[in-house]
């Protein structure tokens, strides 16, 4: 049974916009202009595409946020992710970039209101994946720092490694993330103990560390291009037990910077750059 000639005229062709709206909204009817063989009904046929799109994007979110997925359980996560997918489609065919707004969504999604740490766990997981795909780069070594004239050090600025991220949280985000990813129990963790996290890729693999007091502000300022002197002073203001030597050796070990530049008076010296 073919559909009427009236529907088949070019003026009545359903634009792809109708098709795409119906793809992600199960309450919309099957779009005009699609059919099974011989004009047969195509509701279940269109549902194949609906299912492919939604399940595909939900699966992508499961892959990007494995700790959040385990924390809330598979069935719940998938229901929640469907709500997000309807509101927020990827803007790029690079699916590993999807979910940038998922943490904010978690903050406003009432059914997880009691899991106040969840959004920050998602932020850490998003940073982890960004670090995983970030450009390869040299890592600043102790000898690079050692080559700087000690009196120039306070004026030194650093070049952020592409895979380095700092996350400041009011929750035990690193402990929860680490225990979850290594399959350990969370029962000993107080979720309301504030933690600062550091994500980096000093060698091949992405590493996540918890930062000591003052280190987050120290590193965040350096990443923003402030001088070592400014960053150290700010960190000491924030945390009276901030230890500069420990912070510097920690930042070298974690590979947070790719290079260093000294800019005093008219002299400008770059030891090495993100040449990769």
């Amino acid at each position: 049974m073919r559909r009427s000639a009236e529907i088949s005229t070019p003026g009545n062709i359903a634009p792809l916009g109708d098709f795409t709206n119906a793809l992600v909204d199960p309450d919309l009817p099957t779009p005009r202009g699609v059919m099974g063989p011989g004009g047969a009904k195509a509701d279940k046929r269109f549902d194949v595409y609906r299912n492919n799109v939604t399940v595909g994007l939900v699966n992508a979110l499961v892959d990007i946020f494995p700790a959040v997925h385990r924390l809330v359980g598979d069935a719940f996560f998938r229901q929640m992710a469907r709500v997000y997918v309807q509101a927020e489609r990827p803007h790029s065919p690079l699916l590993f970039e999807y979910g940038g707004t998922f943490p904010q969504f978690l903050e406003t999604f009432a059914p997880v209101e009691h899991l106040s740490y969840l959004a920050d766990v998602a932020r850490l997981e998003r940073q982890w994946l960004d670090a995983f795909h970030a450009a390869d780069s040299k890592v600043l070594e102790a000898q690079d720092l050692g080559a700087v004239n000690p009196e120039d050090l306070p004026h030194a600025r650093f070049i952020r490694h592409p895979a380095a991220y700092v996350l400041r949280s009011s929750f035990a985000v690193v402990s929860i993330f680490s225990a979850n990813r290594s399959g350990q129990s969370l029962s000993h963790i107080d979720p309301d103990a504030a933690e600062d996290g550091l994500v980096s890729r000093p060698h091949h693999d992405v590493e996540v560390r918890q930062l000591p007091p003052g280190a987050a502000v120290f590193l965040a300022m350096l990443m923003d291009g402030e001088t070592l002197g400014q960053a150290a002073s700010q960190a000491a203001d924030e945390a009276e037990d901030f230890d500069l030597a420990t912070a510097i050796s920690g930042m070298l070990e974690a590979g947070i910077f790719a290079g260093i530049s000294i800019n005093t008076h008219s002299k400008r010296e770059t030891i090495h750059d993100q040449s990769d």
């Binding site: 699609v34 099974g36 195509a42 595409y49 790029s92």
Partner: protein, 306 residues
């Protein structure tokens, strides 16, 4: 400019094994990389989804470099949205160019489908109507891709679940015209042929008899799932989550009998098994390719597909 292209070839010649042999290959999964590199069975080639290697760096590129140094490679795009109503995403096309330049694949392919609309990416291979405006647009898009990449691409036939009431030509006619006008080659997915034929109620052999096999440079094989349509009849889903169906192997045997050996990829993208399971599928394709290579005779093309 022969001098320039010659110099470029020299500079870019980082990998050997550029051409894809008429053997079985497999879709590369990160979890199989070590097993493939250590296996005594040296698979004919590997194929990657281009989008998975469009990140800037890190583990994916490290793994693919190791693979590429040991195997010929095909790059298969899934996100270019060649069937789009609107212009191609130039940024994405440039990303594809970068992947192609980085890994020097023997073949580059994309789909007759769309996946992006109004700045949203739907992560599926959505169907196009087979009408003149769509044909013109797809040809323009392929021209653009081939121009930017500086090489021929292969276009893959889709698996479809529905049709558009304003289509004016058959899928095979549509594809044949694209290949003729744009000069692109074709990637024949025989599982897609079987899935679409079942879903659209025609015979797969009829489709194959109308398909321009002389333009086919690669074959895809994959597994499908079975559902039912609105009338309770079988509706096959291109699931890539299980072994290739026997009916698809049978069609493959016939096609290889017609065409002679062609590079043949086993795709398995969901519920991915351990490497030996995928290798078993590849060996089954190798066996057919070897058997048919022995008795394939020039001039027999198209004779038996009817």
């Amino acid at each position: 400019m022969p001098a320039t292209s010659g110099a470029k070839t020299h500079i870019n010649a980082r990998f050997e094994d550029k051409s894809i042999p008429p053997r079985a290959g497999a879709g590369l999964k990160a979890e199989h990389v070590d097993a493939i590199l250590q296996d005594d069975y040296h698979i004919g080639f590997l194929e990657v989804h281009a989008e998975n290697y469009m990140g800037d760096g890190g583990a994916p590129h490290r793994a693919l470099n190791a693979i590429r140094q040991n195997f010929p490679l095909c790059v298969h795009g899934v996100g270019l949205s060649i069937g789009s109503e609107k212009a191609l995403d130039k940024v994405h096309l440039d990303r594809l160019k970068k992947v192609v330049e980085r890994y020097e694949p023997g073949l580059v392919s994309e789909h007759l489908a769309w996946s992006t609309h109004d700045n949203s990416y739907y992560n599926d291979l959505l169907p196009v109507p087979y009408d003149q405006p769509t044909l013109d647009r797809v040809c323009d898009h392929i021209d653009q891709v081939q121009e930017v990449l500086g090489r021929k691409i292969l276009l893959e036939n889709p698996s479809t679940y529905l049709q558009f009431d304003h289509s004016t030509m058959s899928e095979t006619d549509f594809i044949a015209q694209i290949a003729r006008r744009s000069g692109c080659g074709l990637l024949l997915d025989i599982n897609n042929v079987f899935v679409s034929a079942t879903n659209q109620h025609y015979r797969p052999l009829t489709y194959l008899s109308e398909f321009p096999l002389e333009k086919v440079e690669e074959i895809h094989l994959a597994g499908h799932a079975t559902d039912t349509d609105d009338d309770g009849r079988p509706l096959l889903i291109d699931a890539h989550d299980r072994p290739v169906d026997d009916a698809v192997w049978k069609l493959y045997d016939i096609v290889i009998g017609q065409m002679g050996p062609v590079p043949t990829l086993i795709e398995w993208d969901n519920d991915v098994p351990d490497w030996p399971v995928l290798r078993r599928e590849a060996l089954r394709a190798d066996e057919i390719l070897e058997r048919r290579a022995g008795n394939y005779m020039l001039g027999s093309r198209h004779a038996a597909v009817c």
